[in-house]
């Protein structure tokens, strides 16, 4: 395998682990709610995925569990923000801390237990494309689902009625109410579904890539997701670019590490984050912003 293929093979699964929470955050923010609890939802998803896989021996039940765990974290945040009018930033951080604490307590017996990761499914024909074929088309099904997720979400928010209502809720909830829908219900649903996707991102890390659980294993992916959404200007295509860029940077730094090139370890670990942010800041200067009106004032409370 060539070097591009080698980098891509590591890059793609990592990118997907960021893509899911970013898409989730996008849905949530388009409805007008910032969810800093995304990191927490990923942790919950990662742990419950591993736990259920160990208990049942079926990694797909693990994936299902991670969706549920993520959704639960989202429902907690949405409940506080939408029904109780809590501050979005404070509530999100509380959800993250809560998830961090709870997963490290509940997860400690599982530390070090190894499971079989989700099996790769080779797509005949496409996987034989020289160079990039195996990297793109010999991956686990969560990766393939991610390929479909971006255009599907784009179509959903641009060309469907619920998608339109979702966007409108982030802009002017009063207008949505006058049109006969309930902004609170829409926000609750958006945050919960978004957070379930974050849980799926956690599953991709724990059962999709490494095949075990370790404390705080999400490494800030959830927060990067929030940043990706903002710099991608709330557009699914931008989120796609941001996520794959991050994955590529991550892969490059691990290839560098694997080849024993002497660079400061911490610097190397920080590199993907730095590259992603810098590129996104530069790119976000072009084109138009889709920032929902309720997000325009520096992520303050809505309503």
């Amino acid at each position: 395998m060539n070097i591009v293929g080698e980098v891509l093979t590591t890059a793609i699964p990592g990118s997907v682990a960021l893509l899911y929470p970013s898409l989730g955050e996008l849905i949530s923010e388009r409805s007008g709610v910032t969810n800093l609890g995304t990191e927490g939802a990923m942790l919950a998803g990662a742990l419950s995925g591993v736990a259920v896989t160990i208990a049942t021996g079926n990694p797909w039940l693990g994936v299902l569990a991670s969706l549920v765990a993520g959704a639960a974290c989202g429902a907690l945040h949405a409940g506080a923000v939408v029904w109780r009018r809590a501050n979005q930033l404070a509530s999100g951080l509380v959800v993250w801390f809560l998830a961090l604490g709870v997963t490290s307590v509940l997860g400690s017996p599982l530390n070090g237990q190894v499971i079989d990761p989700l099996p790769a499914v080779r797509i005949p024909g496409l996987a034989d494309i020289p160079g990039v074929g195996p990297a793109l088309f010999d991956q686990n099904p969560l990766v393939y689902l991610a390929y479909v997720a971006v255009p599907a979400l784009w179509f959903f928010i641009t060309y469907t009625r619920p998608g339109l209502t979702l966007r409108a809720t982030g802009e002017r909830p009063a207008v949505v109410f006058a049109s006969g829908s309930h902004p609170s219900v829409i926000r609750f649903a958006a945050v919960t579904v978004g957070s379930a996707l974050a849980g799926l991102g956690g599953a991709q890390l724990s059962i999709g890539i490494v095949g075990n659980w370790s404390d705080d294993m999400t490494n800030g992916y959830g927060f990067v997701a929030v940043a990706v959404v903002i710099f991608a200007r709330w557009s699914p295509i931008g989120v796609l670019i941001g996520s794959y860029l991050f994955g590529a940077a991550l892969a490059v730094s691990s290839v560098v590490q694997a080849n024993g090139i002497a660079v400061n370890q911490y610097l190397l670990d920080a590199l993907p984050y730095a590259i992603t942010i810098v590129v996104l800041v530069i790119v976000s200067g072009f084109g138009r912003s889709n920032a929902p009106e309720s997000q325009r004032d520096a992520l303050s409370e809505t309503q």
Binding site: L164, T165, A168, E171, F177, A178, S179, G180
Partner: protein
Amino acid sequence: MPDQHHRTTTGSPPTPTLEVRELVKTFGTVRANDGISFTIMPGEVHALLGENGAGKSTLVKSLYGVHQPDSGQILRNGEPVTIHSPATARELGIGMVFQDMRLIPALTVWENVALHLSDTPFALRPRALRARITETSERYGLATHPGRKVEHLSIGEWQRVELVKVLLGGLDMLILDEPTSVLTPQEVSGLFDMVARLKSEGVAIVIITHKLREVRQIADKVTVLRGGRTILSDAPPATLSDDELITAMVGEPVAILEKRSTSAEHATAEPIIGLSGVSVRRVDGDWGLREVSLEVLPGQILGVAGVAGSGQDELSETLLGLRQPHSGTVMLDGAIVELPAVARMRKAGVIAVAPDPIRQFVVPGMSAAQHAALWNAAGSYSFDTRKADADLARRDAAGQLRVVAGSRRMDRLSGGNVQRALLTLALTSPCRVLVASYPTRGLDILTTERTRTLLKELCEAGSAVVLISEDLDELLTLSDRIAVLAGGRLTGIVPAAAADRRSIGELMTGKEAAA
């Protein structure tokens, strides 16, 4: 398309489209509606009159399900109904265009319409919907661009979109809350054509307005509110004189301001601000102002006429120092200033009445007194709400515009009350130049007259006033000179004494003055 729910039975009198009995709605201690009764028949245009804060908007919002009345009855085609929400109102065939219009600026016209319609399919069909919008637009003479983003529309088109949206929903009763206050005379006549068309289709129309001229023009019945009570119900306007209507609204007769006797004696005074050959580009790249030259003289009212979007906003922003002109020079007291120079203009005593107070003046969540404190704090470090509250009361005593208590939240005030608060602050501040955009928009008759008197007094005290308005009578009554804008060009500056509605109207269409 309006479907006819009503039946016209021969013999017995037709059932009223809507009947309201003893409706009461309170907000805390404010009794906004205090026992209101009136009746609307099919095919009738019913005008609702009343001062600012009389409770007109509250009443129609109760009819559209935005508010739940505390007590009273609403009968729809003779049946008692409870209107829980706007969705219920729409099922009942009631449509409404709000005073503060309800469209989402970031979405396109067709997306806004799709959001509103209950028969929008899961997968949106833009092409079909746009065709429907175009068809209804043409049918009622409401020109719209279905693919445009709402934020790029003029206020007139914005309103036409609201109308199309509501009409597409299907209705036999339409409520219009102050539709004409933001429109140019041409647009008003377009709107009235549409009203006549709906009326002939049997639709009942409730229209709120402050202008008696409009009541005389289209209303079949009028109901007058004062302090939340019905003073007059279902009266035919032809049987009432202007004085009787005004007395019903205000409680006393109101003297209408006489035309100012203008003179050219100040013409020799040094101009405070002078523009020469100023061109300004709009954000969308079009020209906002093209080669405009004019002088703002002390002790004079310079009227600015033009159809909406002819460059009025760009002119006021240039005078206030907010805009950087593309070319041309701006002089302040004889010296050239490089714009933008907001602080410098303000220091020189240039202040403004914003064209869109709800967006440019109101800070949601803040009280009237806090707005006064913000106004006073401009350019200094102090911010004292208590002092500002006393100051607001003092200004109100001087201005007599009957501003609300300082503790009231600005974003919960009626449209006219917001304007009154802004005018009280602007018209009682010491200034050398006042740039007033549409100062009497949305005001009731008494407050309109007070505002005009204050403008006149300000000018007599030696200040320069730039009066941007779409009300030609107002311009002709108050101005010394009238500058006319058409498509960003200055088509003429005429002395008000020598001008009339027709000659100004001609300049507004873009014909240059002969001289």
